[in-house]
Amino acid sequence: MKLVYFAWVRERIGLTEEDVTLPETVATVDDLLVWLKTRGPEYEYALAEPSAIRVAIDHVHARRSAPLSGANEVALFPPMTGG
């Protein structure tokens, strides 16, 4: 699965994107956030406040309970400030 990062999530993790293989226990967006934080201090820093993280699955905003099965690209980013 491809993960993509934007804005300060990207800066804190230090990557614009990466390919990951999820453990079988990671089924939902919430599971993904918990698992990512175990991958190192940069992830812990970026995801320290999970309520400030928005997630999209294949270009569509997703809730925390959304399943990841079938997802090709999951994006993590802060609340949007466009317009």
Binding site: A56, A75, T81
Partner: protein, 149 residues
């Protein structure tokens, strides 16, 4: 469904051309609202705004917002152009054009589109001023979007 035009681009847009594209050659449009969002220097120290976006999702999400507007109001045309990249105070950021038979629909739909562009379109602003910082999402924008529920 009305004609819907969505573009996410680095370059500036031509407001006149976008308004014409919505209304030219038609006899059924009585009202066109064109909203332009402009890079504003709030504290007198902004040098530039860096606009990051999520290519692919930005266009898709704006398209979904436009479809919702088209379902809610009797529109004859919707255009949204959103810029990304480095902008300086006075530069255009976003353009929303709505055309309808009546002004009420055009006004409300343009307000709706802007409220949801702010809260749902994947763009992020970084300010270069006295320091460099990511702009924080505003509660006032969330409340503006809430009023359409």
């Amino acid at each position: 469904m009305p004609p819907i035009t969505i573009r996410v681009q680095r370059n500036d847009f031509d407001i006149k051309a976008e308004i014409d594209a919505v209304s030219a050659g038609r006899r059924d449009i009585g009202a066109v609202v064109a909203f332009t969002g402009i890079c504003r220097d709030e504290d007198g120290h902004l040098q530039a705004l860096e606009l990051e976006h999520y290519p692919g999702m930005a266009e898709a999400e704006i398209g979904r917002i436009a479809m919702e507007a088209a379902e809610r109001w009797p529109l004859h045309g919707i255009t949204v152009v959103h810029r990304y990249g480095r902008l300086v105070p006075g530069d255009n950021i976003v353009l929303v054009v709505t055309g309808s038979a009546h002004r009420q629909a055009a006004f409300e739909a343009a307000g709706f589109l802007m409220d949801f562009l702010k809260t749902r379109a994947p763009f992020w602003k970084k300010e270069h001023g006295r320091d460099v910082r990511w702009v924080e999402a505003k509660g006032v924008d969330d409340r503006a979007a809430e009023r359409w529920k």
